[in-house]
Symmetry: D2
């Protein structure tokens, strides 16, 4: 059964010194739930998984799953990917013990797999350690530098990763994406990973996306999906344009860390990003907040 | 009034020695017309404009416009872009004298404009030589190496290129594309240039595309557009998948020159591509033709 | 017999409207001669060959060769490369008629040759039109986008381009460069094309370089070569560092067009670069000139 | 006092299952010492640091330092770099406790620092945890994707990283490299990291290199350095060409893992590389070994 709805990639709450504030995670879960988000893709790019220690990633997982065991409304997918399969396996086993709904893997991003076969073999090595868990592959070549076609990956992975569930696809190759949707009669779940282009993926048949802006603007995207489902394309396009206007401020104010500025704006402050990511200064935040207000989309942000 | 329908980027008919066969152009025009193609984007990438001499490009223009003056069904857009504005202007003036419907410009691709302002100024220099002609910008960063955002380009170009009509957009940045569609209340015509992703552009509101596969598979795409307009998305997706399957053979058999192999296959042989483009060998063509037959889409190819 | 000494890639003298000032070319020839420059690589990147029309390139050639026939001190190499072999051949034939010492070819830079064989075949098509002329290949992947290894190119070109004389190598792959120097017992002349790294190429055995800074700082490099030949490496390194300091201002003030600012500084004004290249503003030139003065290398610039 | 001589980046010895064979490390130390290698840059690219767990990296450090405490001939530099400064600090502290001679840091390679300042701040965060230890920065943009100029990095790092000792420079930007050599009167040690271009770096003044081929061909490079120091450039060039011929087989047989095939060839078998790196098959090894024999350089390989 495939996911229907938005999966947020949560930020990792931190204090002023850059330490993880684990105890905010339960409230984060409730915040997502309240905004009808159906999944939390934790320890991902947005969650700064690579900037955390293995120990921190595990503790974060424990807090998310503590809540998901109670509530079940938001399913937890844990990105255990990295460059060392030894550490990925360790992390995957811990995820399984703690009751995540699924794990996700990343292409190793120092030594890059040269082809789909190598990538599939690397993933298989981790996936076979948790045969009972669904496994997603997280395709984000702009950060990993691994540009393997996902259709080729599925062809290689299908026979050797029986617990492969699908792909979080964060790349603009819609030709490859549609081919993956159709592969093996739609066996694999294709989760779209570019919030600014969701409409162009919906028309290809996806029913779910994973993204960072679903943390703070879930209502916008649920309206967009509704408009699309109703065949009201002009409305859907205008909502997508609003999403783009919002996302353009990410680039303008320094990139991924602006996401935490949006969280502060909507009232769920998660602190700042760790180095090497740069955060905006206090005076920049003021200008940023003015620009956000000028977007005039208060009712489209997530509610506390 | 914006274009509705497919614009083909014609191949340049050549003989076995690589000389242009000008006298086939009139028949080519009729072939496009018969398949309801509404425009011919000549001397473009598909037309090997950069591999031709200025003299050849002009003679090709003369043959296309000779026919368009008689028939008016297929409008002729001539790519006059290049690296020297002196030659672009010379070519633009010749185009105007011969009655093209519009010209198109390309980002200079040796010295690459570093920002939107420089690109707009280069284009303005040519556009102002033919103030009566609509001018399209042809955005194809994978070949030109010029990655300027088209939204930024429109902002710079709008005040200094009054005859700017729109953009042929051959790039997968749908966020930028939608922003251009919405720019100045939709003033500019946004022609989609990636045939394999047409569906994802239709949903954003484009009503026309420019591409090479519209030369030989126009019926496929007209069915796709019709399905989309009727809200029959499963059919539209299946047709887009067929288009992808067809396009995948381009990559498999050596790239852009495979387009001429498709032309041979559908019965309108245009010879081969000039060096430095590589053409498939005779025995490879046989295998290629078998694979095309196996696509089982005879009725979706253009008809002689 | 191989070249010994510096080959300048001349700028194209232009007036304020961007028209070529052909009549300054003879004085330019004498300027190079006076500074012991042994060759002029005309219509290259520095000469804005791609921004000129074919007609302009030819007229420039005529002016350079008019002088070289009288004086013979500076040999003229004409870059006839481009994307269309038809125009390259036309240009090569004109070069031969006008008595250039050699021509040079460029990798076609719109459709990029995918491998060494295709590149060699493209070059052969032009070279065979002028069998009596030495032909250089100009390797500058940062501008052409063609990253073929030159060792592979030589292997493919050697049997099919009998008049291949060597390579102008403008790329930092010293492993490939040294392999080319040793190929076929040093048959091919390897001209180094990165002025800022000349010392690292001299140690590998090259005896000549082609560059833009040899237009205005030939004495600096002749001293560097002399120091290297005398085994005075600390001096050679300091001179190379001065060259780097000088070249760093190119980047700081906008790139290639800063070369013309240097020409103005040393007293041989060639005007500005054509669009799409950006030139510095008048007030920027003042700051630039101050920074050049602060380099304290007056005696190392070329003399009028 | 700066390093004089070769620093090897050791491979990590593994058994057939890909487990680390720690007990071979002492013999590895002696092998390097016997071949006059003066340093071991452990847990680097060659050592598959990113493919190991933190625990494995630490245990490897313990084995190398166990021997260096006894012998002191080969100094141990430990790469503690990664994407999480928390784990880097943990590793750096462990390195200090175990008596390494120095640590090295890498640009974080998932979120890439956008400029020199961010990179320096990231490094400072780790370096300040071990103020008594010399710190090298390991510059290898082809793997990290961080293309910051090292001159800019030194300018930012000098005031905030007092224990910065120098840079392992694995990139072909000789202009930047020479500028770093001259920065602050040569304060920082510049270790060259491209074995195939060592000669072009020696002429710029470096006296040491860090590389993988110094593991198995140290005598070749010591002869090259000797020839250079004696002013016998033809011999130095021929030896560099031999090094290139040897290194070209790395590319031909699959890249970095071919280094372990060379180790097997010279008699110090370290097993294979972990996934995602691909290793050659047994039958490929036979062909590889033949090609190595044909290089005819037996006496230039390291001796057991």
């Amino acid at each position: 059964m495939k996911t229907e709805g938005l999966i947020a990639a949560p930020f990792t709450p931190m204090d002023e010194k850059g330490n993880v504030v684990y105890e905010r995670i339960e409230a984060y879960y409730d915040f997502l739930e309240k905004n009808k988000v159906v999944g939390a893709f934790i320890n991902g790019s947005t969650g700064e998984g690579v900037s955390l220690s293995q120990h921190e990633r595990m503790k974060i997982t424990e807090h998310w799953t503590a809540r998901s065991k109670q509530k079940k409304s938001v399913k937890v997918i844990n990105l255990v990917g990295g460059t060392s399969y030894v550490e990925c396996i360790e992390n995957a086993l811990h995820s399984a013990q703690n009751g995540v709904a699924a794990i996700a893997l990343l292409a190793p991003f120092y030594f890059k797999p040269g082809n789909a076969r190598q990538l599939a073999e690397f993933c298989a090595r981790v996936a076979e350690a948790v045969p009972q868990l669904p496994v997603y592959f997280y395709h984000i070549p702009v950060l990993t530098g691994c540009n393997v076609s996902m259709l080729d990956f599925l062809k290689e992975a299908a026979p050797i990763i029986p617990n492969l569930a699908g792909i979080k696809y964060t790349h603009e190759d819609f030709m490859d994406f549609l081919s993956c949707i159709h592969f093996m009669d739609g066996k694999y779940e294709m989760l779209w990973g570019r919030d600014e282009n969701l409409l162009s993926a919906l028309v290809l048949g996806t029913r779910s996306g994973v993204g960072s802006t679903y943390n703070y603007a879930a209502p916008l995207y649920y309206k967009l999906i509704e408009a699309f489902d109703n065949g009201d394309l002009p409305l859907a396009r205008n909502l997508q344009q609003l999403s783009i206007n919002m996302i353009r401020l990410l680039g303008k104010y320094g990139g991924i860390s602006t996401g935490k500025a949006y969280m502060k704006y909507v009232g769920f402050d998660c602190g700042e990003f760790r180095l090497p990511v740069k955060n905006m200064r206090h005076d920049e935040y003021k200008k940023f907040a003015e620009e956000v207000r000028a977007l005039n989309m208060a009712e489209l942000f997530s509610k506390l």
